[in-house]
Symmetry: C2
Subunit: 108 residues, 2 copies
DNA sequence: TTGACATGTAAGCATTTCCTTACGCATTAT
DNA sequence: ATAATGCGTAAGGAAATGCTTACATGTCAA
């Protein structure tokens, strides 16, 4: 069937794909440089990258015979937005800071 | 095979399960009250709830012949923590505030 | 040009996911 | 006691996922 759009949440549901995104935080990388970090075969890495690409979480740029993958962090916003919905439950610095701001309260 | 722990990220990868969590934000609910909101069969809803239960994202309490499900928002922290990693990319109030804090900078 | 390199695609297979219908089992209501 | 209610579980099947090996393709290097 497949009613459920593949989408960002599906793409980040696999730990290998999250790690790939994490690797790309430090900048673009060609596939081999990504694949080094995983035990799976290189084609498997390509397939994961394809999922990330389809979800819009990365882009691809050809550079000679390499293909560099680049993070598109804005595409993580659906996740950020959804999780933000729950922020009031976590009474951490972040939440305190936000309330602090919202209240216009000056004290730390 | 099954190397990939089911875990929280898997649990929230399905839109129906995210909506179930969203419903529970307003308080505990028995299964039928949850199922009303979905087109799928009630057993399917039970199965989704089971996934959430296994991920620790909800708890179950029996109340007469009902079973009330309750949100366990702290279990979303792995998601929050992971996504927080990317916050520096989103130049919103939140990120500015954090940088503000980190720098010890006093100006808004 | 010929070969090595970087990478994607194809095919195949095991496993998981997600849904359905049928049924089982408490608990409450009559 | 009997029926209705609220739910889980079982069984089964279609599709998706995640991996592998083999192969195709484009690019650089000798």
């Amino acid at each position: 069937m497949m009613h459920t759009e593949p989408g960002v949440f599906g793409a980040i549901s696999h730990p290998a794909r999250r790690r790939m995104l994490d690797l790309l935080v430090d900048g673009d990388r060609p596939v081999n440089s990504i694949a080094e970090n995983f035990e799976m075969s290189r084609p498997a890495v390509s397939q994961h990258l394809r999922v990330l690409l389809d979800a819009g979480l990365v882009t691809e740029q050809r550079h000679g015979r390499e293909r560099r993958y680049r993070l598109v962090p804005e595409r993580l916003e659906p996740v950020r937005d959804w999780i933000a919905h729950y922020e009031r439950f976590w009474d951490d610095n972040f939440a305190r800071l936000r309330r602090h701001l919202e209240k216009g309260d000056k004290q730390q």
